[in-house]
């Protein structure tokens, strides 16, 4: 059954949650490159890493154990503490 709650806030914010604010540029930021373990994800991320390096961005590589499950909490925590933005290689 769908649950409906009453908003406890001043309703100054929109009802739908906004995604986190995106940075204007990558200056001084560390970019996580997350391979979700789909085939050729590494090829895609190698290219992205090259392009980011050309723009002077720092990168770090991570890999999920399997694309069939969400990332382990330890991995998301590691990425969150070590990096500022994430690029995920979703495609085959």
């Amino acid at each position: 059954m769908t649950i409906t709650l009453r908003d406890p806030t001043s309703e100054l914010s929109p009802q739908t949650r906004e995604p986190l604010e995106r940075p204007d540029d990558l200056e001084g930021l560390t970019v996580a490159l997350l391979d979700i373990s789909k085939p050729r994800g590494d090829v895609f991320l190698d290219r992205i890493e090259d392009l980011l390096a050309q723009r002077g961005a720092k990168t770090r590589r991570y890999k999920k154990p399997t694309f069939t499950r969400v990332a382990p909490v330890e991995l998301t925590q590691q990425i969150a503490t070590e990096c500022d933005v994430v690029v995920e290689a979703l495609a085959d």
Partner: protein, 473 residues
């Protein structure tokens, strides 16, 4: 066209008693019989099945049986219970069944405990004004409240319509009545919004008047809620409740009064914090800039033990009659204990208190932070036996807390912190006038009292304690 509606339930002895009267009426009048609990009763009568209570709710039935007379579909008259004279007058019939002339009815199913709000949710007009948020099918309701940033870090009770309507039953104030503008966003706060946050905090409906009073007190300019929220200092709002209502709702003023375990203490203080967070928009890391905060920023609320005190209560000191119920808000830090297990004279005990109070904020800080001294029963006994009033204790402490400027100036005692050199020859009081408050609370054993120090900015430059009467209904 239906001339009469009769609402009954089988569970009601009076309804069962008048069964022969129903037969008489149906034979001679156009009657709709509505039954709340059994659509196949009474035998041989066509009955409107009202087990869902929609019909009874729409008709505003409080007692069964109820007889209603209609003219052109509109109600013109009703009677509740069984009175032969009334029923004969309304129906214009002689109702000569062999039953007593009078029997009171029973409560309608619509007025069973908690049913009113349930039916209001199902069948009522929209009474709530707050935005509805529909959760996703796979969303856990408590997690959803965390996800939306509504929580202080602990689970909240999800504010469903039913819970909010039940909470609102704790006050007669209209849901859309404006309580004030809550900082830091200065967003408009209604009684309904307070009720929603009180639900989330875990309050019972009878606590709601206390929560509303606490919010009103927090919004008084002298309390300076905006600055208190924004400060890098430890403080947050503490609520002291006085008067008969504190006892009526079961607040704890005795053992562990400042600790965990009492629902009213725990949830009233928490509700105030959630109002500041959710309605005012005041969140840690946002406008709340506290360097460390204190655990009381989850909840900080207790009652003064007036029943066994030899002293006048905080509320009476503030000018309220002893039968008034009040909240007093104080910009409070954490708690510092005072141990004195040997003083048996008020003079000695006051010297202990003064030595402990001297260090509030900083040993060299004067007339900055206020403080609450929470005196336990075993310490109060020392004053009681010596016949010392609360004001005498305050006067004694005031005298003991006159501090020579040479001890307070920067550099004294090898401590760079301190007052300007020019104050070296003055004597200064630790507390501004009226800055030290005393209340009595605590368990019967333990020669300990407590100092609850206040925000370093007190009085006109910051926050003053604010006492506000609780409007019961």
């Amino acid at each position: 066209m239906t001339e009469y509606i009769i609402v009954i339930k089988e569970d009601c002895p009076t309804c069962r008693l008048i069964e022969p009267v129903l037969g008489l009426l149906i034979a001679n009048r156009t009657v709709e019989v509505t039954c709340q609990d059994n659509p196949s009763w009474p035998d041989g009568i066509t009955v409107t099945d009202d087990r869902a209570l929609a019909r009874s709710w729409a008709l505003g039935i409080e007692i069964v049986p109820t007889l209603i007379r209609l003219e052109e579909g509109e109600e013109v008259e009703r009677t509740e219970g069984w009175s032969r004279a009334d029923w004969e007058r309304i129906t214009g019939m002689s109702l000569t069944a062999d039953i007593p002339d009078f029997r009171p009815g029973c409560g309608s199913c619509t007025v069973e405990p908690g049913m009113g709000e349930k039916l209001a949710v199902q069948f009522g007009q929209a009474q709530l004004h707050a935005r509805c948020l529909e959760l996703g099918d796979d969303e856990d309701d408590i997690e959803a409240c965390f996800d939306r940033g509504w929580s202080d870090g602990l689970p909240v009770v999800p504010p469903t319509d039913l819970r909010v309507l039940r909470m609102l039953s704790g006050t007669r104030r209209a849901p859309d009545e404006i309580v004030g503008q809550v900082p830091p966003d200065y967003a408009t706060c209604t009684v309904e919004k307070v009720a929603i946050n009180a639900v989330m905090a875990g309050c019972r409906p009878e606590y709601l008047p206390v929560v509303i009073a606490a919010v009103e007190a927090a919004l008084v300019d002298e309390f300076c809620m905006h600055g208190l929220l924004a400060t890098t200092y430890f403080s947050g709002p503490m609520v002291v409740v006085n008067g008969p209502l504190a006892r009526a709702i079961g607040m704890n003023a005795r053992g562990n009064a400042l600790g965990q375990g009492n629902r009213a203490n725990a949830t009233i203080g928490r509700a105030l914090q959630l109002v500041i967070r959710n309605i005012g928009g005041g969140k840690p890391g946002g406008v709340d800039r506290a360097a460390l905060g204190n655990p009381g920023k989850y909840t900080y609320c207790f009652a003064e033990d007036e029943t066994h005190s030899c002293w006048e209560s905080l509320a009476v000191e503030k000018g309220y009659p002893s039968d008034a119920s009040t909240v007093t808000l104080f910009a409070a830090d954490g708690l510092q204990g005072i141990i004195d297990q040997k003083s048996r004279t008020p003079e000695s005990l006051c010297r202990s208190f003064a030595a402990a109070l001297r260090v509030v904020g900083h040993p060299k800080m004067v007339m900055a932070a206020d403080a609450f001294l929470v005196v336990s029963p075993e310490h109060e006994r020392v004053f009681r036996e010596a016949g010392w009033s609360k004001s005498r204790v305050k006067e004694e402490l005031h005298e003991l807390l006159q501090i020579p400027g040479e001890e307070l100036i920067a550099g004294a005692d090898g401590i760079e912190e301190g007052l300007p050199e020019k104050l070296k020859d003055q004597t200064l009081p630790k507390f501004r006038e009226g800055g030290l408050n005393i209340v009595r609370a605590g368990g019967s054993a333990g020669l300990f009292s407590a100092i609850i120090a206040g925000w370093g900015a007190s009085g006109a430059t910051g926050s003053s304690p604010v006492t506000h009467e609780i409007k019961l209904r």
